[in-house]
């Protein structure tokens, strides 16, 4: 610690005109999130799903139509169907699992490391930190389905022939447009996972043990899907955040049917509002003792 550092007058702390517009923290958050090995491991694990499917189909004999997940029997004719199959397979568990890890880690992870107290005395501002953390989780919700879809399209194109895709409505689109549809599905799923992320954020403010918040988030998503399967609870179904998760098939019609997209967006917005408010209420008054 050399003492030859030019004297910095403490009083200058009061006047610092060119401030950042507060976006630094968001940039930093995204950098930390996507610079972290764990995030890449999650994305690679998700991207491995289409690869596994494609390789399995390639090495095995032709799939008899009507068995296995939807689209599976079409893969050998058109590689792009690997993407659709993989998305369909990963939506119920793998995708919520990955999102649960990231969303559950948001606040609890910082609390666990002890960095939460340093962020808050910086001062990051509790509301601002919560918003930035949620934005980071949303960025992951965008990245996760894209990883599955694009890895699926790539491995499908590598192992199988690629041609015009027959949509659910019977129309046919060129491969270029089909990839666009994959991106559209990814957007649909990103919106679908926004509600779960808000739940994860809220649960993350409740504990300093990130694994607890992660597990709770995943459990909530499983419970929601189980409830969605029970016919006795039909009145409840439209209110479950997972209700529209598998409705992305509407993105595969010509023209695209936007009804489920909008219903889903509205439902997710409701969940974001409710759990965002709960997270705010909890976090703003919380004693940071970690």
């Amino acid at each position: 610690m050399p003492s030859s550092v030019p004297a910095e007058r403490p009083a200058t702390a009061k006047a610092s005109p060119p401030r950042s517009r507060g976006l630094s923290l968001l940039v930093s958050e995204l950098r930390v999130l996507f610079g972290r090995r764990r995030t890449w491991a999650l994305l690679l694990a998700l991207a491995a799903i289409p690869v596994l499917i494609a390789v399995a189909v390639k090495v095995s004999s032709a799939v008899p139509p009507g068995r296995g997940p939807a689209f599976l029997d079409r893969i050998t004719q058109n590689g792009l169907f690997v993407a659709f199959t993989a998305i369909l397979v990963s939506v119920p568990l793998f995708m919520p699992l990955a999102v649960g890890v990231v969303a559950g880690d948001t606040i609890a992870g910082e609390a666990n490391l002890g960095t939460l107290r340093y962020l808050l005395v910086a001062p990051a501002g509790r509301v601002r930190l919560l918003l930035v953390k949620y934005a980071g989780a949303l960025a992951f919700c965008i990245a996760a389905p894209l990883a599955v879809g694009l890895a699926g399209a790539a491995i499908g194109a590598a192992l199988f022939p690629v041609g015009p895709v027959t949509l659910l409505s019977g129309g046919v689109v060129q491969p270029g447009e089909a990839v666009l549809r994959i991106v559209l599905i990814a957007a649909y799923l990103a919106v679908s996972l926004a509600g779960l992320s808000a739940i994860g954020l809220f649960l993350s403010t409740m504990t300093v043990v990130p694994v607890g918040a992660m597990a709770a988030t995943v459990v909530v998503s499983v419970v929601s899907q189980v409830l969605d399967q029970l016919p006795q609870l039909e009145w409840l179904h439209p209110w479950l955040f997972s209700h529209y998760w598998l409705g992305f098939g509407d993105m595969l019609r010509q023209p695209v049917v936007w009804d489920s997209f909008l219903d889903n967006a509205l439902l997710q917005a409701g969940y974001v509002a409710v759990f965002g408010a709960l997270a705010y209420g909890r976090f703003v008054t919380k004693d940071i003792l970690s």
Partner: protein
């Protein structure tokens, strides 16, 4: 360090930290109980107390991390936590040990924490991070992941984080924890140089020697209560001073001392069972030297409260002794050490305050 900027040192007016009736209850237990802290501007303020006495909880409330159950906090003249966003950019803090992202490098960690505040200037971030790292001697480990840092290096990085921006107030919770002797020295020098620039430094510690060497003021916590505070000299003086005399002429010496109105304590014969002076380590060494030099008796007498207004001055005592023909072979004035004072205030033993 104090070079340049003449006449710009902030006037030491008002208090940098002021709490009134600050309390924190966890359930029925009061972790902090009606604490009235007063930390003047420009001081190096030692915040002492045994483990579990409520130091860190107090610091958390000062910084707005925890809400007070009762009482108020005023930081740099602004009310906390209402004015948190105006005050905290002027406050650097090390709270309950350093904490960093182990998977990021030291420099990346500082970048992250610096960008957390909307008040910092992004353009100067790189330079400020570099400067802070140099200040704590970590410039060579800047690119290394914190995962590979030793405890002392993390501690230094934590101090660097507190110094990222120019601050009016530094709150350092156990700053020398885990540091080697050089590191401890460097922290002391750093704190001194910061104080010279007018920064108020609030240091919590359970290491008395550290506070003794660094601080101008101190407060002592015990079981959630503030039991003493004020300038360090005053705290020390409220203890007593005593003289220690070594002489072969025990009887005559006692008479002289009694004549001066000083009550001679129990004399120790032959130096064999000499009681060790408080605060001195190496008791056995001391006894050995005494054995090797059988100078006679050791007489201890209280000189009264050490406020500098004692009726009898030590030099006067020696003059009288010599006049009376007493052979003075050793004479010392011993002030009650801060440690004695601390133990007197907080109690002895290993029991963590409940």
């Amino acid at each position: 360090m104090a070079a340049g900027l003449p006449g710009t040192a902030p006037v030491a007016a008002g208090l940098a930290i002021e709490t009134r009736g600050l309390s924190k209850h966890f359930g029925r237990q009061a972790a902090v109980d009606r604490v009235d802290l007063a930390v003047p501007h420009g001081t190096v303020f030692g915040f002492l107390g045994p483990n579990g006495s409520g130091k860190t909880t107090t610091i958390r409330m000062l910084l707005g991390l925890a809400a007070a159950s009762a009482g108020t906090v005023t930081l740099l003249g602004e009310e906390m936590p209402r004015k948190l966003h105006d005050v905290l950019p002027r406050v650097g803090a090390l709270v309950e040990g350093p904490a960093f992202y182990p998977f990021l490098s030291g420099a990346a960690n500082l970048h992250r924490l610096d960008s957390a505040s909307p008040h910092t200037v992004p353009a100067s971030r790189k330079a400020r991070v570099q400067q802070a790292l140099e200040r704590v001697g970590l410039e060579h480990a800047a690119g290394k992941r914190v995962h590979a840092y030793s405890l002392g290096m993390k501690q230094r990085l934590g101090i660097a984080n507190a110094l990222l921006s120019p601050r009016d107030l530094l709150v350092l919770d156990e700053p020398t924890n885990g540091l080697d002797p050089q590191g401890t020295r460097e922290v002391r020098n750093l704190v001194r140089s910061l104080a010279q620039q007018g920064t108020t430094v609030f240091v919590s510690s359970h290491l008395l020697a550290e506070v003794d060497q660094m601080c101008t003021h101190a407060a002592v916590m015990s079981a959630g209560k503030l039991v003493a505070q004020g300038p360090l000299a005053q705290l020390r003086q409220s203890g007593s001073t005593r003289l220690r005399l070594v002489t072969p002429d025990g009887g005559a010496a006692r008479q002289v001392l009694a004549g001066l109105g000083l009550a001679p304590g129990r004399g120790v014969d032959g130096g064999l069972g000499a009681e060790p002076a408080p605060g001195t380590a190496g008791v056995s060494v001391r006894q050995e030297t005494l054995r090797a030099q059988p100078d006679g008796e050791t007489i201890v007498a209280a000189l009264g409260p050490g406020d500098g207004q004692t009726a009898v001055l030590p030099e006067e005592v020696v003059a009288r002794l010599v006049q009376a023909g007493v052979r003075v072979r050793g004479f010392a004035v011993e002030r009650e050490s801060l440690e004695d004072r601390f133990v007197a205030l907080t109690g002895e033993g290993f029991d963590v305050a409940q």
